[in-house]
């Protein structure tokens, strides 16, 4: 496997494993918790390093994951005091833990090169250099396997506990009433998030983890209403972001992680504008259509009422001004023309007259709306 391929493979694996728990974060309005965790992970790494004095010890991953969960716990404890809002709690806990980490690093680990750049950005470019060698066989970059395991873990947990996760996300109280512990599910999810963030962070750095965890899910959120589809779409979009991002970075010779984040943004932008139903273009078009449709219905109602009112059925039709519709000249013309095209009325340039079809349509509309 070429290094380029390995890098993209890692990117895809990491992207998908981040997107999956990210869906739940977005739906539970806990997106910023991902930002919080990815920053406090550093403290976990530092503390574990102090215990093991070994930068490649697996304890580092454990320590970081643990601190991630502790971050969540601290935030929620703070939140439970009801003295401050949830987002305030997040914004107080993680800077504190991060500061402690920085202080510890600067004071006691100065000799060890814990590059703060790597903290924020990771460096995927170096991933191919750490290889997994078993009995002399080079099986590829170590990161592939580590992130692969995490991906499998994510898939397993979400597949097995799909209905519990779904229930707790959308109706925690019902979940509790049915005997599922929302707290257990919650902390399990957060542990998964934490673990995923740690493994991803090594490859792509803090900030990109947020992009991978939140970007694809919010993009998918604009495309579907179904949880399963959202999960699949998020994974797919994440993978695309990873590959395209790498290609762009290789082409322009810039930061890989940053490039992937930018691509995430661009894809979101595209979906934001062009998504069917929820996209901007779609929404604008719908609004315009609605305005016209409502106006058409209104005009027909007014005509119908006029006809069957105390004026009886006028032989000469009704002039538009008589309807007291507060529309501009141009708009009235537009509506009249469209109704003419539908065969709902006649306009001889002077007065309006409903056709039989127009009457039927009017009655149908009325029943639809008011019954």
């Amino acid at each position: 496997m070429s290094p380029q391929f390995e890098i993209q493979l890692i990117a895809v694996i990491v992207a998908v494993s981040c997107a999956l728990p990210g869906v739940f974060l977005v739906l539970r309005k806990m997106s910023m918790m991902s930002d919080s965790i990815t920053h406090t992970i550093l403290l976990g790494i530092v503390l574990a390093f102090f215990l093991t004095h070994d930068l490649s010890s697996p304890f580092l991953i454990l320590g970081a994951t643990l601190i991630g969960v502790v971050t969540v716990w601290l935030t929620e404890t703070l939140n439970r005091t009801r003295l401050l809002s949830e987002d305030s709690a997040i914004g107080i806990v993680f800077p504190l833990l991060f500061s402690i980490a920085i202080i510890l690093i600067t004071r006691y680990a100065g000799s060890v090169h814990l590059d703060t750049d790597a903290v924020l950005l990771g460096e995927l470019a170096f991933a191919p250099f750490e290889r997994l060698v078993i009995s002399g066989l080079d099986l590829g970059a170590k990161s592939i396997y580590i992130s692969g395991i995490i991906l499998l873990l994510n898939l397993l947990v979400i597949l097995i506990f799909f209905k519990e996760l779904k229930l707790v996300t959308f109706d925690p109280m019902l979940a509790a009433a049915l005997g599922f512990s929302p707290v257990l599910v919650h902390y399990s999810l957060m542990t998964l998030v934490s673990l995923t963030a740690v493994s991803a962070f090594e490859a792509v750095g803090s900030v990109l983890v947020v992009a991978f965890m939140i970007g694809p899910p919010v993009t998918a959120y604009l495309l579907t209403d179904d949880l399963k589809s959202m999960l699949i779409l998020s994974g797919a979009i994440g993978a695309i972001n990873g590959i395209l991002g790498y290609q762009a970075a290789a082409f322009f010779d810039v930061s890989i992680a940053g490039s992937m984040a930018v691509v995430t943004g661009m894809i979101f932008c595209l979906v934001f504008i062009f998504a069917p139903r929820r996209g901007l273009v779609s929404a604008l078009r719908r609004r315009k259509l609605q305005k016209t449709q409502f106006a058409q219905k209104t005009l027909l109602f007014h005509l119908y009422n006029r006809e069957s009112g105390d004026h009886g059925s006028p032989e000469n039709g009704i002039r538009p001004e008589q309807l007291h519709l507060n529309w501009s000249q141009g708009f009235t013309q537009q509506i009249v023309k469209s109704l003419e095209k539908n065969g709902c009325l006649h306009f001889d340039g002077h007065s309006l007259e409903l056709t039989e079809e127009g009457r039927q349509t009017s009655i149908c509309n009325y029943e639809e709306l008011f019954q």
Partner: protein
């Protein structure tokens, strides 16, 4: 029988249509509110009552329609613009905000002061007097999070009253309040009417419409009826609005 054409109207609504997504909430609403009346807006839940209020206050965008406010002949409001006092539902605000009762009521004076100017002694005096009127003068330095539902409602009321407005819009002011507060509010409404003010109230309790109000609008997506309570608030119209048998209301109506 009042001849409609000689009535002096303070608000005119024409062709108001409001929709959320594809569903219309208000349809082609035509409404004329005569000056100096206490008008109730009633209808089933989701009928568009609060939406109508908010649309009249320009707090949301409509698909179509025109809303006109007509200042009276004695209108001494600046730039001949009519002053509107708004009493929203108490759930619309974060009551943990650091403010006292007096703070909140004083905010009602801000509209009269305009940009930048600070409230003066006169404004504070008026605020305190108004608090007395709603029976909350003892609470003027109380933090608003420590108030009961009824007390919060009265604070909102006072906030609207200090504006010395010509027309008041209230959104379910009687909902969930204790009997004492309810009496106080009714008393206030009577006083406002005596001063020639117009009050428009989204009201949830059909039983008390005839007691408290002299004008009523029955609305459910569109206006079913609008007029004096005696003329318009009867079983047939109620049936149409609520599309139910209306048997529950036989005793009162």
């Amino acid at each position: 029988m009042e001849n409609k054409t000689t009535l002096d109207y303070v608000v005119e609504v024409e062709d108001l249509t409001v929709a959320y997504d594809a569903k219309p909430v208000l349809w082609d609403v035509d409404l004329k509110i005569p000056r100096g009346r206490l008008m109730a807006i009633v209808g089933p839940n989701g009928a568009g009552k609060t939406t109508l209020l908010k649309a009249m206050l320009n707090l949301l965008t409509s698909v179509s329609g025109v809303i006109r406010f007509l200042p009276g002949e004695t209108g001494d409001s600046p730039k001949n613009k009519i002053r509107i006092g708004y009493v929203p539902q108490s759930g619309s605000v974060d009551w943990d905000f650091p403010a006292t009762v007096l703070d909140v009521v004083l905010m009602g004076r801000y509209g009269l002061l305009g940009w930048v100017k600070r409230p003066g002694k006169n404004d504070v005096a008026i605020a305190k007097q108004t608090l007395e009127k709603v029976g909350m003068e003892k609470f003027s330095s109380r933090q608003i999070s420590q108030l009961s539902g009824g007390q919060q409602q009265r604070v909102f009321l006072a906030r609207a009253l200090v504006q010395e407005a010509e027309i008041y819009f209230m959104d379910e002011p009687f909902k969930g309040v204790d009997a004492q507060t309810e009496k106080a509010i009714v008393q206030l409404l009577k006083e406002l009417k005596a001063q020639g003010k117009t009050v428009v109230v989204v009201h949830h309790d059909l039983q008390t419409v005839a007691d408290y109000f002299d004008w009523v609008t029955l609305i459910n997506l569109r206006v079913v009826a609008c007029g004096p309570v005696k003329e318009v608030f009867h079983e047939e119209n109620l049936k149409t609005v609520y599309r139910s048998s209306g048997a529950l209301l036989k005793s009162r109506v």
